[in-house]
């Protein structure tokens, strides 16, 4: 059943992405000031939202683990954290390509870019901490605490374009009290967000299954060792 849901979600994501690519490449006109490169927003912004959703899920799963002490919440937390890292990397790379064209530089140390990179690095640190701890419950506990500590950084990243004057564009979308885009130009962002969320869900489910199986293998190995 779970496999079928995953296949369905992956198929849905693929279909939507094809539709989005068709729409943004053939139907949406070039932007007045930026030209063709502005189309990167249709992947940059939804990826950022997906990464933020994954980070929020990691926070919730970590809190739930600490409350319920059920290791499957820990498995969810790893899976969504890896999702956050993946989509975060997409955000950083697409942003850098856009910046190279529009600003003429790959990177600048403004509040948005810095906080995003720092959050990304902290989640990478989360995975490194997991590798350093051998005992499963101690690993789950410590990494859950770390994940909770990382989350305020994600919130800072989200709010940074409102709190500081950044080189990164301020809020654009109308849902965030931005100026909004011309009619018809904004909707593919939300449609692509749906596609990327489906994709993230598929990846998270895949990693979750792997994580459960690895834990099973681990415990089997321990039992085998104990019997010898």
């Amino acid at each position: 059943m779970r496999d079928k849901i995953m296949m369905a979600l992956a198929g849905l994501a693929a279909l939507i992405i094809v539709w989005v690519l068709h729409t943004i490449l053939w139907q949406v006109p070039d932007e007045k000031n930026q030209g063709a490169i502005f189309r990167i927003i249709y992947f940059h912004v939804p990826s950022a939202m997906t990464a933020a959703a994954c980070a929020l899920a990691a926070f919730v799963a970590s809190v739930l683990y600490l409350v319920k002490r059920n290791l499957s919440y820990d498995a969810i937390a790893v899976a969504v954290t890896e999702g956050a890292l993946l989509f975060g990397a997409v955000v950083l790379v697409t942003g850098m390509i856009w910046a190279r064209i529009i600003w003429g530089i790959w990177w600048t140390w403004d509040a948005r870019l810095t906080s995003m990179l720092v959050s990304w690095l902290m989640y990478a640190g989360y995975l490194m901490l997991r590798r350093a701890v051998e005992e499963p419950t101690e690993r789950a506990r410590n990494s859950a605490v770390l994940s909770i500590f990382i989350f305020p950084g994600v919130y800072i990243t989200w709010k940074s374009i409102e709190w500081w004057r950044t080189q990164h564009p301020g809020p654009v979308l109308s849902i965030r009290q931005g100026g909004g885009m011309a009619p018809g130009m904004e909707s593919p962002i939300y449609v692509n967000l749906l596609a990327l969320l489906c994709l993230a869900a598929v990846l998270v489910m895949l990693r979750y299954n792997q994580e459960l199986r690895r834990r099973e293998l681990d415990s089997l190995r321990r039992t085998a060792h104990a019997m010898i």
């Binding site: 690095l121 902290m122 640190g125 901490l129 350093a132 701890v133 506990r141 909770i148 990382i150 800072i156």
Partner: protein
């Protein structure tokens, strides 16, 4: 009231242990002075440049030197299973954490108090223009470093790669605290007035301290006891 007494007991115990063998504070102080020297060789700054980088220079030194003190904070308790004894004692985790954090705070402030005149001498800087404000920034920024550092010291105490993991996990999380501290210190040391943007820096510092102190107090029991 009982909680406060417990905090003070842990605080005094840590401070006494440190004053008797001076392990962490000596290492930290020597390290801080060495970095100050190295920076001076590495950049050979003019007076104008020094004024521009003073905040960053000082806070990097404090953060690096702080890691040495914070690393020892819980690692010191590993010998003879002292940590288990502490956890088993009737002191709650939050009191244990607060006592240790306060001891680290005082030690780190002592290191900073020695570093500042050294910095003033080696770099020919008059840093005393706005001592009151500078002290406020130091107190707030150092508490941020200490809270995060002490918490992560507890988190990484059982790891093989403890010395490596602590700075790797700490420094990125400290950035929202270090950044305003650096900017504010640069302005204050140069003797310039604080603009409205700088006041936002103070808000960020206070917010960081409050949020992470609260988080640490809530979560430290889980880390120590399980």
């Amino acid at each position: 009231m009982k909680f406060l007494r417990q905090v003070v007991a842990v605080f005094l115990k840590d401070l006494r242990a440190e004053i008797r063998n001076k392990e962490a504070i000596n290492a930290s102080l020597a390290f801080a002075v060495v970095i100050l020297l190295l920076f001076s060789f590495a950049f050979d700054p003019t007076a104008e440049q020094t004024r521009e980088i003073s905040g960053g220079l000082l806070w990097l030194v404090f953060a690096f030197a702080g890691a040495l003190i914070l690393n020892r904070s819980f690692a010191r308790e590993l010998t003879n299973d002292c940590l288990d004894a502490l956890v088993a004692s009737p002191v709650p985790g939050a009191a244990l954490f607060l006592g240790k954090a306060l001891a680290n705070y005082l030690l780190l402030l002592a290191v900073e108090a020695i570093c500042l005149p050294v910095f003033g001498i080696f770099y020919n800087m008059r840093w005393t223009a706005q001592v009151g404000l500078l002290t406020a920034i130091l107190l707030l920024g150092t508490w941020g470093i200490t809270v995060i550092g002490t918490m992560f010291s507890a988190l990484t105490v059982n790891l093989r790669l403890r010395e490596l993991m602590l700075p790797m996990l700490c420094y990125p999380i400290m950035i929202p605290c270090l950044l305003p501290a650096i900017q504010l210190s640069t302005v204050v040391i140069a003797g310039q007035p604080l603009g409205p943007e700088m006041q936002q820096g103070f808000r960020l510092l206070v917010g960081f301290d409050v949020i992470f102190t609260a988080l640490a107090l809530v979560l430290v029991d889980t880390v120590l006891v399980g």
